[in-house]
Structures are given as C-alpha cells and as structure tokens.
C-alpha cells in the first residue's frame, strides 16, 4: 500500500463513478454542461477532503455504534460551509448547481469513503484517498459533461465549437441523455477491462 497507489486508485482502478458506481445521482443530474460538472466536482472534492481528515482524526474516539450519525454530522457541516461560501462568493455557480449542493450530504461517495477508508486509516492517507477519489469523481463528471454538452448543445464550456449548421441532439442534455451516456461509458470501460484480462 504505497502513497502513490492510494492516490491513483481513485482515478481509474476504483473510480467512484465508473468502477464503484457510487454517487450516480449528482453525476447524472449535473453533467449536462462542462461548467456545472467542474463546479460540482470541486465542491465534492473539497467536502471529501475535509470529511476524510476530520473522520480520520476522530476515528479512535468514535464508538462503532454511533459512527454513522457522527459521520453524517461531520459531512453535513462541511456541505453547509460549501453551500454558504458558494452563495456568498460564486453566486452564479450556486444558482446553476441549485439543490445539488445541499444534496452532497447524501452523496454515497463521501459516506462510502468515511466508512471504508477514513474510519480505519491515518489522516495523511485519508487525505490522499479523499483527493484521489475527489479528482476521480471530477474527471468522471467532466467526461460526461463534455460528451453531453458537445452532442446536446454543440459547445464546450458555453463556447460553440460546431458552427451554426450543427443540429444539437437535445436529448443528450436532458435526463435521458445522462443515462444513455453513462451506459455507454460504463460499457466502454468494462469492455476495455475484459479485453485487458484476456
């Protein structure tokens, strides 16, 4: 268990979205544009870093029986901090992400890492784990956001890249487009994995 592998496992091998299929609700909901995908990814990474460090610090005094409520309190506190700071400093992004910022509380990636990792490992490793998983999540959102915004709106970060003749495939930025995209992307990664195994 090296430090590097603890970091990189979140990027591909145990990518929270593509490999663990966790946190799919925000992934599907806010991946309709690159900009909101990036905002959501950064917000989740920040919460994950903070909650992983605090939970790792208090892991020895937290009794097993009430660990889940304590984890949720810690996570909810950081999410509220993100929510308030975003409303104060990045109002436009706050408006775009809307209800999905408070919903980071129930993002299963965060509770999942608290339970599976930060509650059992020291703070240094927990921070690295949180960073890797957060970046892995952000990359997944960015990949979906890029595909969906490109196909559904012909643009990248709001800048048109396809010219006026391009007829956007509207369904891609609507909810069904999220399911279609994640289906194909998950299928692609599984196909890649199978090919490697042979």
């Amino acid at each position: 268990m090296s430090v590097t592998s603890e970091f990189t496992k979140g990027l591909y091998k145990q990518n929270p979205v593509f490999k663990q299929a966790l946190g799919l609700c925000p992934t599907l909901a806010v991946s309709n544009s690159v900009e909101s995908a990036l905002g959501m990814g950064v917000a989740v990474t920040f919460v994950l870093l903070c909650s992983n460090s605090i939970i790792s610090l208090i892991r020895k005094i937290v009794p097993a029986k009430i660990r889940i409520p304590i984890y949720i309190v810690v996570i909810a506190t950081f999410v509220t901090i993100v929510d308030l700071s975003m409303a104060g400093f990045l109002p436009a992004l706050h408006k775009t992400l809307g209800i999905f910022v408070p919903l980071i509380v129930v993002n299963c990636i965060i509770l999942g890492r608290a339970e599976a990792y930060a509650g059992k490992n020291n703070i240094g490793l927990s921070i690295i784990d949180g960073l890797g998983m957060g970046i892995g999540f952000t990359m997944a959102l960015l990949l979906l956001g890029t595909i969906r915004e490109f196909m559904g709106n012909g643009s990248f970060m709001g800048i048109p890249v396809m010219g006026p003749a391009f007829e956007p495939v509207l369904i891609m930025i609507l909810p069904p487009g999220a399911f279609l995209t994640i289906g194909f992307v998950l299928g692609f990664f599984n196909w890649l994995e199978n090919k490697r195994a042979k």
Binding site: I61, P69, I70, T77, I81, L84, S85, P168, L170, L174
Partner: protein, 191 residues
Amino acid sequence: MRDIGKLGGLLLLITTIAATALAGIYNVTKPRIEAQKALELDRALTIALPAAPREAIFPVQANDDILYYVGYKTPEKKELIGYAFVSHGPGYSSLIETMVGVDSLGAILGMKVLNQVETPGLGTKVEETRHGEGEPWFTQQFLRKPAGQLAVDKDGGDIQSITGATISSRAVVKSVVAAYEKLLADRVKQD
C-alpha cells in the same frame, strides 16, 4: 442500553461543535450573501430601466411588500422615466421570475430573468445569451412592445417562442402581462 448516556453525550458534543462552527461561518458569509443579493437587484433594475440611474429608482411599498419601483432621470425625482416590477409565473419545472421595466404608457424599456430552473437546453433559453451577443435574445424581443398586449406567436402574438419550450416562453409572456395589470391597479391605489 447502559451506554446510552455516554453515546448520547458524545453525539451531543459533536453536534454542538458542528453547530458552533456553522454559526461562525454563517455570520461571516451572511453580509456577503446579502451584498450579492443587493447587487443582483441593482443590476436587474439598471437593465429594466436603462435610462434611470440606480439612485433615482425608488421602491413603492405597501406595508413591507415592495409593489413596484419608480424610476426618474435624477435622484431629485424629476422627469419620470418609468416603472419596474417583478413578475412571476409557473414555467415548465419552476417559477420563472422576471424584472420588467415599462414607461408610463406601458411600453417595455428593459427586462431580465431573475430566477428560473427550467429544463437545461430548452426552457433555460429564456435567459440565454448567444455567444458573441451582448444581450439575451429571448427577452430582447419584448423591448418597446406594449406590456399589456404581449402574446407568443402560437397564440397570435409577435413574441417568438423558444423551440421546444413553448410552456416556458408562454409563462414569461403571461406573467409579464399579469404583473403589468397588477402594476396598473397598484398605481391607481397609490395615487
């Protein structure tokens, strides 16, 4: 069961620490959030009544509710420019709020969508600014038209509705008409 007091106490301790931290953050961010809201209102009023300087736009209140805004050319209330009001109507998936400015005859001077959570890529176009253009195209169509007689093209009017988002387009138009009628009624009451 014997350790219920110990567990409860620990949980209480942790929630107290969390609550204290949040209270601190809340107090730090509260003035910023309020400043952002005031800034947003300023911006919307300037778009709604472009000819009136911000300090020459005054709210007209009944009890604690702001009914509408009156804009003049100078802060000394000389030369009436027009009125601004907030309209809201149910769109496809949210309440669409718009700030609208009209002159004394009811022609629209400017408007800005304040809040909407419509379908991304369809209804959200009510406030979309095309790349390279300075102003949102949908609300630009309203300019100089009489606020009391607006209708989308499908209802025989001359506001071009957004492709695939007739409900959102119609919601904006209808809410502006309704809010303008309310403005007329409120102005009679105020005079």
